[in-house]
């Protein structure tokens, strides 16, 4: 199968609405490698679907340039705007968008009927059958979409994208409408398929688990900007700001924000809910950075569980969730707010304290950006 790289230069997209100007994408610069499984991750409304539509050619950027390999496919300033079909992209939609009045076979053949010159009927049928075989839906070819289950429809949608032999796959939250177990199975299948075919894939999702498991690289978007670009391990271990830190990882990272000070001769961070005693390494980093307002982020699984009084944060247990090999503890802070701890060993008693492991803590300055 063919493949190509994608470059987005200074992409901006905005609209004029009745309520004034709305800017969905503010300044996006991205380069996606050939054959890469690239994930656009972000909460609803962050602009990721808009970005996908721009790559597909369903929408025109307000300014900027989109280049596939050596070909400029969109550039308002140069008056270039190629239609989706001319860009050689195929798209899988969240709602699958199968043609309800056609059989599955006709659904798969439809993209081929638009090729110029139009291939022979037998050729088109063969391509459709090959794609169906790859996705194990051969037995469904003469049915209509309404007779299929969600998972089957999704595979037909993927088949319709494959049959075109495009240079780029675009997927807009294709697994969102499936139940949890099916989602897990399809995730693995999708990853395997993409590796086998080697086609550049841009995948949009709001599910950080999907992003982490599927992506070669992830671009975390929020508010029209790329917040961070990196491998799954990059964004998990070294989030560049508080937003990315809280978005990646489940349960969410615990955040303590406040001013540094001294209490009982020991450096602390005075957050509204709790006074956090700072390990020396962390307080040193804060002093080096300068300023007084900082944020500490600790993942639920990165606390030390210590007896009462010996740690940096005093807590009291509220609810415990047992999820197989691990336990999720929802604990109260002194002022009544809650944080989450993940551990494999249950602590004794209801009240204990948490120790912050300096290497595992994430430190952010007053603007929310990563320190050091």
């Amino acid at each position: 199968m063919k493949t190509t790289s994608i470059t987005l230069e200074a992409i901006e997209k905005g609209w004029n609405t009745l309520r004034g100007k709305v800017t969905a994408l503010k300044k996006i610069d991205l380069h996606i490698e050939k054959g890469e499984f690239f994930v656009l991750l972000g909460p609803s409304g962050c602009g990721k679907s808009t970005l996908l539509n721009l790559i597909a050619g369903l929408e025109k950027p307000t300014s900027g340039k989109i280049v596939f390999g050596e070909r400029t496919v969109a550039s308002p300033s140069d008056k270039i705007m190629l239609a989706p079909f001319e860009r050689d992209v195929a798209m899988v939609f969240q709602s699958y968008a199968l043609y309800p009045h056609m059989t599955i076979e006709d659904n798969l053949i439809f993209p081929l009927t638009n090729l110029k010159p139009r291939p022979k009927k037998s050729e088109m049928k063969k391509k459709a059958h090959d794609a169906a075989k790859l996705l194990q839906i051969e037995n469904l070819l003469d049915r209509k979409p309404s007779e299929l289950s969600g998972g089957q429809r999704q595979r037909v949608a993927i088949g319709r994208a494959i049959v075109r032999d495009p240079e780029i796959f675009l997927m807009d939250e294709p697994l969102s409408n499936l139940d949890a177990k099916l989602r897990g199975d399809m995730r693995a299948q999708l990853k395997g398929l993409q590796q086998k075919l080697g086609v550049t894939t841009v995948y949009v999702t709001h599910d950080q688990l999907e992003a982490m498991t599927l992506g070669d690289r992830i671009a975390v978007l929020n508010d029209g900007y790329v917040q961070q670009l990196g491998t799954p391990m990059d964004v998990f271990n070294k989030p560049t700001n508080v937003f990315v830190a809280r978005f990646i990882g489940s349960p969410t990272m615990n955040i303590f924000e406040g001013d540094i000070g001294i209490k009982d001769g020991v450096p602390v961070l005075d957050s509204p809910s709790v006074t956090v005693f700072l390990p020396p390494e962390i307080s040193e980093k804060f002093h080096k950075a300068g300023g007084t307002h900082f944020t500490i982020g600790v993942r639920p699984e990165h606390f030390d569980i210590l007896p009462k009084g010996e740690g940096d944060i005093e807590v009291k247990v509220d609810v415990v969730e047992h999820i197989g090999t691990e336990h999720l503890l929802y604990v109260f802070l002194p002022d009544g707010n809650q944080i989450v701890i993940k551990t494999t060993e249950m602590p004794d008693g209801d009240e204990f304290s948490l120790g912050i492991i300096p290497e595992k803590a994430h430190l952010f300055d007053e603007m929310g950006f990563r320190l050091g």
Binding site: A56, G57, L58, A83, P84, F85, V89, A90, M91, F93, S95, A97, L98, Y99, P100, H101, F110, P111, N114, L115, R160, R164
Partner: protein
């Protein structure tokens, strides 16, 4: 248990009553049409002789022009239905999928226009067509009928097209279909039930329309069935109830058949868009 039975009986009785109420004019019409000495307001049992002569007469008598009226009604209704279906389906597609100024204003305006009672404009229509020398022609009815039925057809089509997911258009576009091909190969086949519903409603409305037909046509060249039947004259100037009832019976056959076969679409058309999904 007893309560349930009584309730069923009452409901059954109520339905029977409503049926009788709705069907009795029709049944009376059939009785009169098959009577040798039809007296619309008299006692049908008195000297009732069963005969088919009324039917024979209207089908064969040139003087009564029944077949002319039938032909006119059919022709006009079909032309109008086809024209309105084309106009309304394209409009439905445009309003649900394209961004253009007036997208909301135009349908609302059309709706507002449709609220003018026919009687308030029929005088002006008469003057216009008289000045154009077009009275008593097919055009004199086709044009006003199109204007009169487009609002309802437009709204049925708009709400039906709005229910077709826009993702389908996008998918077709990415699959390489031009806008025209998307419209004809993807969207229209899916919208067919909605278009068909509006076609039927328009056809029925035109077939039954009386006021415009009455005012804008004068004789069998362009008159439609409702007017034609109403103006039937007997050989001695009397009102030929038998013939009128026979003609009404025959005229209602196409409508009854259409409605019975396609009642699903008619109901669908009337309730399209009322509930989501």
């Amino acid at each position: 248990m007893r309560e349930k039975n009584i309730k069923s009986i009452l409901i059954f009785a109520g339905v029977l009553f409503l049926l009788a109420f709705a069907l009795s004019p029709f049944i009376w019409m059939m009785i009169i049409s098959l009577s040798d000495r039809p007296d619309f307001l008299g006692n049908a049992e008195v000297d009732y002789i069963f005969t088919l002569k009324n039917y024979v007469e209207i089908l064969t008598s040139r003087r009564l022009h029944f077949m002319d009226y039938f032909k006119n009604s059919l022709f006009i209704s079909i032309i109008v239905s086809v024209a309105v279906s084309v106009i309304a389906s394209f409009a439905g597609y445009a309003v649900s999928r394209l961004r253009f100024p007036g997208r909301i204003a135009v349908p609302l305006f059309v709706l507002a226009m449709s609220m003018f009672p026919q009687i308030s404009i029929v005088g002006y229509l008469y003057t216009i067509f008289a000045d154009l020398g077009l009275l008593n022609t097919y055009i004199a009815l086709i044009l006003p009928y199109i204007a009169w039925t487009v609002p309802i057809a437009l709204w049925i089509n708009m709400s039906y097209f709005a229910q077709i997911p826009v993702d389908l258009d996008k998918a077709a576009l990415v699959d390489g279909a031009s806008r025209t091909k998307t419209l004809f190969k993807v969207i229209l086949p899916i919208a067919l039930p909605g278009i068909f519903s509006s076609f039927l409603l328009v056809f029925i409305a035109c077939f039954n329309e009386f006021l415009f037909a009455m005012m804008l046509t004068t004789d069998h060249i362009a008159q439609t069935i409702p007017v034609g039947i109403a103006l039937f004259r007997g050989t001695h100037g009397e009102i030929p109830w038998g013939n009128m009832m026979a003609a009404s019976a025959i005229a209602s056959v196409p409508l009854v058949i259409l409605t019975l076969i396609f009642q699903k679409y008619i109901v669908q058309g009337l309730s399209a868009g009322s509930v989501k999904g």
